[in-house]
Structures are given as structure tokens and as C-alpha cells.
């Protein structure tokens, strides 16, 4: 009698578990069906699918189901595209990434891997573009966050993704923003000089032959050297004048190798000729300054 009761209880439990499993799978399938239902407007499809998949994921079996997490990530991505594409701080997009990464981790058979990765790459590209449009003096911190999220997505999708080119591009742009902040008030924003310098050096560590990194770093030092002198009061005591001059000279000297490197990388750029002309002039090497001036004049005549 006791044994018969145990067997019956086990049977009931199995039926309930199976029912739950089917219900869970049904919900995921239902979410997919709704997404594909052309009779519904797209916004309704996505909203309904999101509600269904959010409920479906609560089933214990979904916790480790790659497909369920993939669908959830996909639906969240679609929701972001439809309703939050202009929101650079969209939590839905962040959540989509979390779910897709989870799906990728759970997908032991790699059945969904290609599509999960495609979705991650798509979201990554939206972060990258948002990073680009946030690169200004006010929003650059958002840009940095978005850029890191871009990297996270791309590397999750492709661990061997060649991030270098993007890294250089972004860092050059970020350094330009820092430079602008610094130059808007070199006294109160002096910390941005160091930040700019650091980022350009990171660019050059990635690629010593990056023209922009070399040229801009040269310009950063050179312009600051001129600023140091221009900010000086003409009535400054002679001892201090000498110190200021020494500081400026050191900046001009620092500038020169980067400018020469940029010149060696591309001799046809007008701006580097102007830059070298200015650096040599500031270092009182007038013959060399005139040499670059003459090169510039020749270039302009040829055009």
C-alpha cells in the first residue's frame, strides 16, 4: 500500500514537472510566434513577446536554457531598437547584452551561437555609434562607458576580434575632446593636459606609426609651450621669466620628435609643415623653421 502511494506521488510529480516544462517551452515558442505574427503591428508584437518571454524565463528550466535566453536577448534588442534607440542609457539594451551573453554561455551545442553573436555585434555597433555621438566636452564620460560596452559586446561575440583599429580611432577622438576641454581654459582645466597626453601615448603604444597620434601629441606640447609664455605677464620678474622660458623650451623639445615622426609618415600634409615651422621657430632654430616654411610655400604653389 505504502509503495503504491509512493509510485502514484512520483507519477503526479512527473506530470506536473512535464507540464511546467511544456508550459515554459510553449511560452518561449509563443513569444517567437508573436514576433513573427504579421497581423500585429510591430510595436505590439515586440511588447507582447517581451512580456511572455519575461514570464517564461521565470520557469526553473529556462534558467539554463540557451534558447530561452537567446530569445529573451533578441526580444530585448528588438524592444531597444523600436522604443529606445535614441536613449544612450537604455537599460533594455544593456539587459539584452546580459541575456545574449548568458545564452552564449549556456549554448553548449553551439546551436544558436552564430545568431547570438550577430545580435551581440549589432548591439555593439549601436554602442560604438552612441560613443561617437557622445564625444563632446559634456558627454564624453557616456562615450567612454558606451565604448567599453562596445568592446565588451565585440569581444564576447568574437574573442579574437581585432579591436586595435577601433581603439586607435576612439582614443584619438577622445584625446581631441580632452584637448578642447584643456584649451578652453588651460589654467582651470590643467588636468586635461595630462589626460590628453596619456591617451595619445596609448594610441602610439598601439601603433607608433599612427599619424594622428604623433601629430596631435606634437601639437599638444607645442601649443602648451606657446601658452605658457603667452600666459606670462610681461612684467614678470626676470628669474621667473627664465623659469617660464625653460618650461616652454622643454615642451617644444618634447613636441619635436612626434612632429618629425608625423612628417616622416606623411610629407605631403600641410599641417605638419606648419607645425614643424612653428616648433623650430620657438626653439630659435630659424634656418630649419625657414626650411619648412619654404617647403610649405612650394607645396602651395604646386597646388
Amino acid at each position: 500500500m505504502k509503495n503504491r502511494f509512493y509510485i502514484l506521488a512520483l507519477f503526479v510529480l512527473l506530470v506536473i514537472t512535464a507540464g511546467k516544462t511544456f508550459a515554459q517551452n510553449d511560452s518561449v515558442a509563443k513569444a517567437v510566434l508573436i514576433l513573427q505574427d504579421q497581423n500585429l503591428p510591430q510595436d505590439k508584437r515586440v511588447k507582447q513577446a517581451l512580456e511572455i518571454i519575461d514570464r517564461a524565463i521565470l520557469h526553473s528550466q529556462s534558467a539554463n536554457n540557451a534558447y530561452a535566453w537567446y530569445i529573451r536577448g533578441y526580444v530585448y534588442k528588438e524592444y531597444y531598437k523600436l522604443f529606445e534607440a535614441q536613449n544612450k542609457k537604455s537599460k533594455t539594451r544593456d539587459d539584452a547584452v546580459v541575456y545574449l551573453k548568458k545564452a552564449l554561455k549556456l549554448d553548449s551545442t553551439k546551436e544558436y551561437e552564430p545568431t547570438i553573436k550577430q545580435n551581440l555585434k549589432y548591439i555593439g555597433s549601436t554602442y560604438y555609434n552612441d560613443a561617437g555621438s557622445s564625444l563632446d566636452a559634456t558627454n564624453y564620460k557616456i562615450a567612454l562607458e558606451d565604448y567599453n560596452k562596445f568592446k565588451d559586446c565585440m569581444l564576447a561575440a568574437e574573442p579574437n576580434y581585432n579591436i586595435k583599429a577601433r581603439e586607435i580611432e576612439f582614443k584619438n577622438a577622445l584625446a581631441t575632446v580632452y584637448t578642447n576641454i584643456f584649451r578652453s581654459n588651460i589654467k582651470t582645466n590643467s588636468e586635461y593636459f595630462g589626460k590628453t597626453e596619456e591617451v595619445y601615448k596609448q594610441v602610439l603604444a598601439l601603433d607608433t606609426n599612427n599619424w594622428g597620434g604623433n601629430y596631435n601629441l606634437a601639437m599638444l606640447y607645442y601649443n602648451y609651450g606657446v601658452d605658457v609664455i603667452n600666459q606670462m605677464e610681461v612684467t614678470e620678474d626676470i628669474l621667473q621669466v627664465d623659469n617660464i622660458q625653460e618650461e616652454a623650451r622643454s615642451l617644444f623639445k618634447k613636441s619635436l620628435p612626434y612632429a618629425l615622426k608625423a612628417y616622416s609618415l606623411n610629407k605631403q600634409k600641410k599641417e605638419i609643415l606648419i607645425c614643424l615651422q612653428g616648433i623650430y621657430f620657438s626653439l630659435y632654430e630659424f634656418e630649419k623653421s625657414d626650411e619648412f616654411k619654404a617647403k610649405l610655400e612650394r607645396m602651395e604653389k604646386e597646388k
Binding site: 517567437v32 555597433s125 578642447n180 601639437m219 606657446v226 626676470i238 612653428g278 630659435y284 632654430e285
Partner: protein
Amino acid sequence: MKRIVTILIAVLCLSADWVRMPILQDPNSGNSKLKASFIYNFTKYIDWPEKYKEGNFVIGVVGTSSFYNELTALLSTKTVGSQKFEIKSFTTVESVSGMCHILFLPAENSAALPDILKKMKGKSTLIVTEKSGLAKQGSAINFIVENNKQRFELNKTNIEKYNLKVSSTLMALAIQVE
């Protein structure tokens, strides 16, 4: 069923504004300012006779140098004690006239130094030049470049010849020439 909806891959696009070329500062402004500041300091460390301590403090620039404009912009609102700076431009040596506390001879007009020396004889004018060797040829102070820096040679004999007194501080900072 499982391979739902094609995914559109967004293109990674950057705004052209991402990387802007910085604007190069004018190198002339820095060099001129340093020179002007040195000249201002000469007025602090050199003592002129009493009769030169009245009226404006006159700095003459010989020739058509752009330094005249720069000096005017930088010093015309400043004073030496109670004396206001007055920057004068003398296009030729012949046109140099009146009381001049400092007479600056730009490098391109260096050949005029002998004539200037004749013209300034007996006056208390500090003659400032900017060409190598001129401190030995009669100028009191001569700007030179050393180790990529603006420095100045000082010839004490030439200064005292014009009844001017130079402080030890300025002497210590100068490259002394005899």
C-alpha cells in the same frame, strides 16, 4: 522557427567631428613676449640718471620691425615707477631723436650699429641689439640664442659708458662680455 528574423548589422560609423585638427599657436607671439619681458626687466635692474626719471620712459625701435607693434601692445599700458612707457618707431638712424631710454636695434638692421653708437654718444641710452657679436662691438645688451633659449649678453663697460648703472642681479643672469 528557431532561426528567427534576419538581423540587420549596423555599420560602425564615426562622425567627421570625432577628430578635429588642433589650431597651431603663433610662434612669433611667444618669442616676442619673452624679449619684451626681458626689456621690461632691464628697466628694473638698470639705473638711469636723474634727468631721465621724468616724463615718459621711451623705447625706440629702429627700422620697420614688427617688434615695434608687439612692444607697443605689450608695454604701452605699463609703467616704470611713475613713468609711462612710450614706444617709438624710428624708420632710419637719422630719424632717431629726442630722449630715448632704450634703443632697440633689430637683427635685420644690425649694420646700423656704428651709426647708432655715434648718434647716441653722450646720451644715457641703453642700446639693445640682437645679433651675435654686437655686444663686443658697442651695444650694451645683445640678445642671443643659447641652448634653444633666449638669453642676453651684457657688456658692463658699454653700459657704464652711457652713464647707466647695472645691478648685480642682472649681471648674474647675463652672459658677460667685455
